[in-house]
């Protein structure tokens, strides 16, 4: 779609925003619903598994430097496998972007634009998403490198301002819902990091493809820190079982801020961060969806695909079925979505090794 290549820092900011975006939606509530007040332990498990997969991939198979997963599919199973994997990935990307799109427009309506029709908010987000993806990788990268650190800092400051409401006794009983829930629940929460799969598609888009391992490590480390910070703040501010509520967890924490009569109602600041983050996430996801689709089917020009793919995302996100069912659907999808970012890369690598050995 573009000849622009990402620098390491740009790639890290893009990946951090993609992987951490769900923190502003329902992820903190999902972690506490799974493991109770020990949700922060599930975060460590999720990132430990993710880091292991990444380190294993980078150390064991350095020969794939410069190749992405679709190239690997081509090597392992030829065009049929590439088409199959690419199609499955594109379908997942479209569905997950559509769900995020729906969550964003519903949450903005709930937080601020109460009497505005959902469709109008949807049009605004759709326009932002399509425009962002259409302008290409360069603008996506530049905007991310500016806004992602800013969003991180703003969230950290807002959570620090909620400090008077933190109660360390909320961390006890230490094991929350128990070891089984932390491990089991934590395992399925790997689905929260679906966007991790995009790390495997970065090499052709990087200025220096040899920096891919470093980009991955930093993205995972910063995301882990971000997750720990937000989920710990959520657990400290809101005691379980109230913290198992998945209705805009961070919004609930930020609503508590009241420092004197001056610093209160800071959720308006959060709304701004939330909207910017949403535009960045949706446009980048749409960009990568189009990129994957283009590469899978060998289409020369990707830009014309942005509009139909964007409309497809909006159409799926607007399906009436999702009304009131979005969180239930996410919970259901958590059971199998983790297969893509965790199992798919490893399976492809093992298949390649097995084939090479033959």
């Amino acid at each position: 779609m573009s000849n622009y290549k990402l620098s390491s820092n740009e790639a890290i900011t893009v990946m951090v925003n993609l992987m951490c975006n769900k923190l502003l939606l329902s992820a903190p509530g999902s972690f506490t619903a799974a493991a109770g007040n020990a949700g922060w332990m599930s975060v460590l498990i999720v990132f430990a598994v993710t880091a292991c997969v990444w380190i294993f991939y980078c150390r064991r198979y350095p020969r794939f430097s410069g190749l992405d997963l679709l190239d690997l599919c081509q090597k392992v199973g030829g065009k049929p496998l590439k088409l199959t994997v690419g199609s499955i990935l594109s379908i997942f990307m479209v569905f997950l972007t559509a769900i995020a799109f729906r969550q964003y427009i519903e949450n903005v309506k709930q937080m601020s634009l109460v009497s505005t029709p959902l469709s109008l908010i949807g049009i605004l987000f759709a326009a932002g998403m399509i425009l962002g993806a259409y302008t290409g990788l360069k603008s996506v990268a530049k905007v991310h490198s500016f806004f992602t650190p800013l969003i991180f800092i703003f969230i950290a400051v807002l959570l620090a301002m909620a400090f008077p409401h933190y109660d360390t006794t909320n961390l006890f009983p230490a094991l929350g819902k128990g070891g089984k829930s932390i491990l089991g629940g934590g395992f399925f929460l790997l689905s929260t990091l679906f966007e991790f799969i995009l790390l495997f598609f970065l090499p052709p888009l990087l200025k220096d493809e040899k920096k891919q391992p470093r980009i991955g490590k930093w993205s995972i480390a910063i995301s882990c820190l971000y997750f720990l910070m937000v989920i710990s703040a959520f657990i400290l501010a809101i005691p379980s079982p109230a913290s198992t509520d998945r209705y805009l967890p961070i919004f609930q924490v930020i609503r508590l801020i009241q420092i004197g009569t001056f610093f209160q109602r800071l959720e308006s600041v959060f709304l701004m961060i939330f909207t910017i983050s949403g535009f960045l996430y949706l446009s980048t996801m749409l960009f990568f969806t189009v990129y994957l689709f283009q590469k899978t089917f060998g289409i020369e020009y990707g830009k014309p695909l942005v509009f139909p793919m964007g409309f497809l995302v909006c159409a799926i996100g607007s399906i009436h079925f999702f009304q009131d069912r979005i969180l239930a659907f996410l919970q259901f999808s958590n059971v199998f979505v983790w297969v893509i970012p965790i199992l798919l890369p490893l399976t492809l690598l093992f298949l390649y090794r097995w084939r090479s050995a033959r």
């Binding site: 006794t169 006890f172 819902k177 128990g178 379980s240």
Partner: protein, 374 residues
């Protein structure tokens, strides 16, 4: 192409807020809501509105404006739910009712004794009410309490409620917000209390003093202002108060500060909780007979003994009369359990009634002899 697209999208960004814009002048801001039992409908809601013209008139001239009314106006509506009442209210007044600046929700004793579980979601999950809204329980009708509110010293009603319900220098009422009421409702390690609002129709006065005690979100008793001071010492929210004690027929008055948060140690003996509390107080004798003023250590001993007995009696009352862990010892106790399931199976709320509680008061005199100052 890009420029045209950007220009076309610009109105989306700039005009979105215009769709549901709200003019401040068109709003009627509810400052407090009273919840009573209704006659024809299940509930009666008293909405207390701010009257901006009278507030601003008062601020500038030091008196109420020519309109003649006070800064507050009450409207009582019977309805099955709060939001239904708010909708009805829009038929009574010209402006649109808005509760985003509501400072206080008062439940009548009758409503509180029936249980408040059904209100928690309505109030907290809705984005209209702030989590930092104060909550209180009124002895008698909430409508009467709100009707008697009068504050010649502070005409701004929002400020009035902030000042009276969030006093760090007064210890006779707890400060409880809507979020505390909501969170505590589902917790087994602490029970809710609320400030107790009183009104007197004859004297036309309203005040808050003492607290209403809840168990499982149902009011089970009341505590006096003096007991509330003890409660605040125990849960660490106490700042400072003058405490009178009787010593050999004389009345000694101490000013007491909480030096540091109380230390709570919990152990289990054959499954029964053993609670040990150490209060770290400091202060000085400010009024007493000559003999005590000259011997501060003797008066301190009287204070420690008196406070220990009163704290023990109060804690006994929480165990036997209320049967509710309002201090929140359960928050410390749950550190001793590995999982939430283990803690739930222990049934802390029941075991607390049988707990053995011991109190130790440590008092450090900040001034050996107050007379030395003069």
């Amino acid at each position: 192409m890009k420029k045209t697209l950007l220009l076309a999208l610009l109105p989306c960004l700039l005009l979105t807020g215009c769709y549901d814009s709200r003019e401040v002048d068109n709003m009627a801001y509810v400052m407090a809501v009273g919840v009573d039992s209704g006659r024809e409908k299940e509930l009666a809601f008293t909405l207390q509105f701010a009257v901006p013209l009278n507030i601003s008139g008062g601020v500038e001239t030091g008196d109420k404006s020519e309109g003649g009314g006070g800064p507050l106006d009450n409207l009582t509506i019977e309805a099955d739910s709060l939001y239904h009442a708010l909708d009805y209210a829009n038929n009574y007044i010209s402006k649109q009712v808005n509760v985003s600046h509501c400072k206080l929700i008062v439940f009548s004793e009758e409503v509180a004794r029936k249980g408040l579980n059904k209100y928690e979601n309505t109030l907290v999950k809705g984005k209209d009410f702030r989590p930092n809204t104060f909550v209180a329980t009124s002895l008698g009708q909430a409508k009467d309490y709100l009707g008697q509110i009068s504050s010649p010293l502070e005409l701004n009603p929002a400020r009035y409620y902030e000042l009276i319900y969030d006093k760090s220098y007064s210890s006779f009422t707890p400060t409880i917000h809507l979020k505390d009421f909501y969170y505590n409702a589902d917790l087994s390690d602490i029970e809710t209390v609320m400030p107790l609002a009183h009104s007197d129709a004859e004297d036309k006065t309203a005040q808050i003093n003492g607290m209403a005690v809840f168990k499982d979100n149902r009011m089970v008793g009341t505590a006096t202002g003096d007991e509330t001071v003890l409660f605040k010492m125990l849960n660490g929210t106490f700042k400072s108060a003058h405490v009178p004690i009787e010593a050999d027929g004389d009345t000694l008055v101490f000013i007491i500060n909480q030096k540091k948060a109380p230390q709570v140690k919990i152990s289990f003996d054959k499954g029964v909780p053993q609670i040990g509390i150490t209060l770290n107080l400091e202060g000085e004798l400010v009024s007493g007979t000559e003999a005590y003023l000259k011997a501060p250590s003797a008066s301190s001993e009287f204070l420690k003994q008196d406070l220990t007995e009163r704290l023990q009696a109060f804690l006994k009352k929480t165990q036997t009369e209320y049967g509710a862990d309002i201090v929140g010892f359960g928050k410390q106790a749950k550190r001793r359990f590995a999982t939430i399931q283990d803690f739930d199976n222990y049934h802390w709320d029941e075991m607390y009634k049988a707990a053995s509680v011991s109190v130790k008061v440590s008092f450090e005199s900040t001034k050996p002899n107050p007379r030395e100052r003069s």
